[in-house]
């Protein structure tokens, strides 16, 4: 049995995983990163638009601060997020971006003087201040009050990932590439690493560690069409689920991005609309102002995606052999702007659609994009039920996004969570010793070996590629943007059948080393379980919140549903997961539930909401001299690692 020991094992080499690894290494712990692919190829690189941090340097970001970023994030989440975590996040994001700047990200900078920009379909001139020249600038994104999304042209994720991986290389952090964690090792409620398959040799290796962090990204590939990379299959989430101890949070919270190209589902950044692009229907008509007169194309993502779908259902879509779509018009931004700030978008249009977006409209439609759900963690990033297991980034339900994530808050989360969770991982490594028995390691190793052997000797059975395609179709057709009880019940039943069939997979190519069919055979049963968590959670949640939109339960129901879905899979032979709920405590909220300001407000309010509102009023009255920091301390005291506690400086405002 091959065993590799380390202090901090990080599964996933994207932004979140690398940042956790850097934090462990900085604190002197032996660290190993496992990755399916070379780290710089992780899906973090695909983030085009940018990272939200309330630096407030550009003129349209003037006056921005943590309070406004916090309010936008909580509203965006439809009050489904953990406000402690959202608070930690907004306070740390400016530090994260400045650290990345020191580590080499060439963030686009403020340029003094007049600039012509497009706002609400019209050309206007804005004037950047002299004193802000050379500071990190920002662009507009959906659902935000200020221009807060800091960027590098439209390659923000790429430059962040390169800087982060280069930092990891500088520190000598080993990244073991082409390795897939297929099971967690655990004993008495404590996690001690993972059983890992080498994707080239096929050998199984036990990586035994004090702390294990899962940072494997989202589960977008449960859907047939997704903007996600092909490796975003949720396997990290699935191995946590399969412990029967760790819980997954809010798996039904799945985001659809308004503007992926048709048919292949590749993303065009929200920056297209942030920079002034418009959505048009088959008549060339700009329809969003009719639905959302205030924020128009820049309403929150879930809202825009639903409005687009509604509009297409009215027959206003452009028909194509791949179904209806709408147009994204960025022609009004002009060649110079597109070739500089939206160049990746231009390349994608040229290569995949054969069009020049400077001259022609882009065919788009809402497409699966982001997984708000994931491994449920405490604010420290540790699983509340499986000690020593941590998670960060999209793989986690740290829960700063609730039921809808704002554009620009995901890459921001990866690095901020990486910083914060990384410190707690290091704390855990220093406070705990590694005392797992060899027989436990052997037990998990043997179990996984047997599963693979069974696959390799079975003569007849199911085709893993076909099972996957069927699962993806069910998710597309029945667990999409708009959901209803009937479809969801069918999806749950159909997935149950697939779950059983997935136990009888047989291979045509029966070799244990490098073998794409075997990889699929190992992953597909895991993916089906995750799909069941999503569909079942969606069926049970009889309200509409954020991206979870029920046609049969239109209202957001705080009275009955202000809670987080928790999913476990205790018995591997069961054909459904177990679902419980954890209440969100209104009486502890810094920002009690209110209206997001989109469409008709038909919220069923929680009885505590007016009480908490009154309490906050009273606290404010009782402390008339309190500044925003003191007030936050009174309303929402949060734990945050010592080194990230300081206030953030802003131009023209100092540390106020």
């Amino acid at each position: 049995m091959k065993v590799i020991y380390t202090d901090s094992l990080v599964i996933g080499g994207g932004l979140a995983g690398l940042r956790v690894a850097i934090a462990s290494m900085q604190r002197g712990f032996d660290t190993i990163v496992l990755s399916l692919v070379p780290a710089k190829r992780s899906h973090s690189a695909a983030a085009q638009g940018g990272m939200q941090a309330s630096l407030g340097a550009c003129i349209k970001g003037d006056g921005d601060d943590e309070e406004i970023h916090f309010a936008d994030t909580v509203k965006g989440s439809d009050w489904g997020c953990d406000q402690d975590v959202a608070r930690m996040f907004v306070n740390t994001s400016p530090k994260a971006i400045r650290q990345l700047s020191a580590w080499g990200v060439p963030w686009s900078r403020v340029r003094r003087g007049d600039h012509e920009v497009v706002i609400n379909g019209k050309k206007v001139t804005i004037t950047e201040k002299d004193e802000a020249h050379g500071l990190i600038t920002a662009r507009d994104f959906g659902g935000t009050k200020k221009w807060r999304t800091c960027y590098t042209s439209d390659g923000a994720g790429h430059t962040m990932l390169y800087a982060m991986d280069n930092k990891a290389i500088q520190m000598g952090i080993p990244v073991h590439e082409r390795k897939e964690a297929i099971a967690l090792i655990h004993e008495d409620g404590v996690c001690y690493g993972a059983i890992v398959r080498d994707l080239i040799t096929g050998k199984l290796i036990a990586y035994v560690a004090k702390a294990t962090t899962i940072a494997t990204g989202g589960y977008g590939r449960l859907y047939a069409i997704s903007t996600n990379a092909v490796i975003s299959e949720g396997i990290g989430n699935a191995i946590a689920l399969e412990t029967g101890i760790a819980t997954l949070g809010n798996m039904e919270a799945v985001q659809f991005h308004p503007t992926a190209i048709v048919p292949v589902g590749i993303l065009t950044t929200e920056g297209c609309r942030g920079d002034g692009g418009l959505l048009l229907d088959k008549d060339g008509y700009r329809f969003m102002p009719d639905y959302e007169p205030d924020k128009k194309e820049l309403a929150s993502r879930d809202v825009v995606s639903r409005r687009m779908t509604e509009h297409m259902r009215k027959g206003k879509g452009i028909p194509s052999r791949y179904g209806d779509h709408l147009w994204l018009d960025i022609t009004l931004l002009g060649r110079k702007h597109i070739e500089k700030n939206l160049r990746e978008v231009k390349e994608i249009c040229e290569y995949f659609l054969g069009i020049d977006p400077v001259e022609e409209y882009i065919p788009v439609r809402p497409t699966q994009h982001y997984s708000m759900g994931g491994i449920r963690t405490k604010p420290t990033g540790e699983s509340p039920t499986l000690k020593g297991l941590f998670s960060a980034g999209e793989a986690a339900c740290w829960d700063m996004h609730g039921f809808n994530r704002l554009g620009g808050n995901s890459v921001a989360e990866t690095v901020v969570a990486g910083m914060i969770v990384g410190e707690y991982v290091a704390d855990y490594c220093s406070e705990n010793s590694l005392n797992v028995s060899t027989s436990t390691i052997q037990h998990f190793m043997k179990r996984e070996e047997k599963k693979i052997t069974d696959l390799l000797v079975r003569d007849f059975g199911e085709n893993p590629f076909k099972l996957k395609a069927q699962m993806q179709k069910i998710m597309m057709d029945k667990v999409g943007i708009f959901r209803n009880g009937e479809d969801l019940e069918q999806a749950v039943e159909e997935l149950k059948v697939l779950n059983q069939r997935a136990k009888r997979i047989a291979l045509r190519n029966r070799i244990s080393s490098s073998n794409p069919e075997l990889v699929e055979a190992i992953r597909v049963p895991k993916m089906i379980k995750l799909a069941q968590c999503v569909a079942y959670g969606a069926m049970l949640r009889t309200e509409s919140r954020g991206a979870h939109a029920r046609e049969d339960y239109l209202e957001r129901n705080d009275r009955d549903w202000l809670k987080r879905t928790l999913t476990t899979w205790k018995d591997d032979s069961a054909d459904l997961p177990q679902v419980t709920y954890e209440d969100l405590d209104v009486m502890k909220m810094e920002m009690p539930p209110g209206s997001r300001g989109y469409g008709v407000d038909n919220t069923v309010h929680h009885p505590d909401t007016p009480k908490r509102e009154q309490e906050i009023e009273d606290i404010k009255k009782a402390n008339p001299g309190a500044d925003r920091f003191e007030l936050q301390e009174l309303l929402n005291p949060i734990p945050i690692p010592e080194k990230f506690k300081g206030k953030n400086e802003r131009i023209g405002r100092g540390f106020k």
Binding site: A39, H43, A102, N166, P516
Partner: protein, 244 residues
């Protein structure tokens, strides 16, 4: 996008070094073309319906991660964004990218090469104070044009096309190649990196470095991101010629 259905003929290099006794060979697969079909779609179709053992690497399938470079009809390129309709006779020959360790079929180990390259050119900001930076304070300012220029050079996706297209690399196994020069040029341009020209010379000032380049410029011709390799190699060479 053509609506006409035609049958594509893929000739694909097959060899699995993990499998005892396996020999390199070309295998032909036929599939029906679909509108908007890319090589990514075609290869997955072949794997799912004809040969589940076929190895290849895709991650983003959107031309931004650099995983899928291979030789398509004699030319190195990103397979994911290559439309099958580009090939009029419907014949498509695929070979793994040369210059890298073969994993199997069309899959090569670019990751190992690129990590070594990054270590060799020390692909990070050299500044003793970078780790002590007080991130509560305003970040250090940068001229907006300089930031844009750095990004121009940082658009490299480490796909390896330049390495595979380089004749010098064929003759000198340790030749750094354009990807390494581009990375170094990016740091040389960055005011945050405090390395001197003498220090850069230590890395690239020999025949395995910038003086070994025969200026055939396959890198410039085949870079999927249209990076200015020619200009940067010339610039580095001139800069290095002034040292010693």
């Amino acid at each position: 996008m053509s609506d006409q259905e035609r049958v594509l003929k893929f000739q694909i290099f097959r060899y699995n070094p993990q499998k005892q006794g396996d020999k390199p060979r070309m295998v032909t697969y036929e599939i029906t073309e679909a509108p908007g079909m890319t090589i990514f779609i075609a290869l997955n179709d072949i794997r799912e319906h004809q040969d589940p053992s076929l190895q290849f690497d895709f991650v983003c399938r959107a031309g931004i991660c650099g995983s899928c470079a291979m030789i398509v009809n004699g030319q190195p390129t990103l397979a994911c964004r290559t439309l099958t309709s580009n090939y009029e006779d419907g014949q498509i020959k695929l070979l793994p990218l040369p210059g890298f360790e073969l994993i199997g079929d069309l899959s090569v180990n670019t990751g190992k090469f690129m990590r070594a390259m990054s270590e060799r050119v020390e692909s990070w900001i050299h500044d003793a104070y970078a780790d002590e930076v007080n991130f509560e304070k305003l970040e250090e300012r940068m001229d907006p044009d300089v930031a844009d220029e750095i990004y121009e050079l940082e658009r490299c996706v480490e796909c390896g096309c330049c390495v595979s297209a380089c004749a010098t690399k064929r003759m000198r196994p340790d030749f750094l190649s354009a990807v390494g020069f581009m990375r170094l040029a990016r740091y040389a341009l960055d005011p945050r990196d405090k390395r001197s020209d003498e220090e850069f010379y230590e890395i690239i000032g020999d025949d395995d470095g910038v003086f070994g380049c025969m200026t055939l410029l396959g890198c410039e011709d085949y870079c999927p991101k249209d990076l200015p390799h020619q200009t940067q190699i010339a610039y580095l060479r001139r800069k290095m010629a002034f040292i010693r």
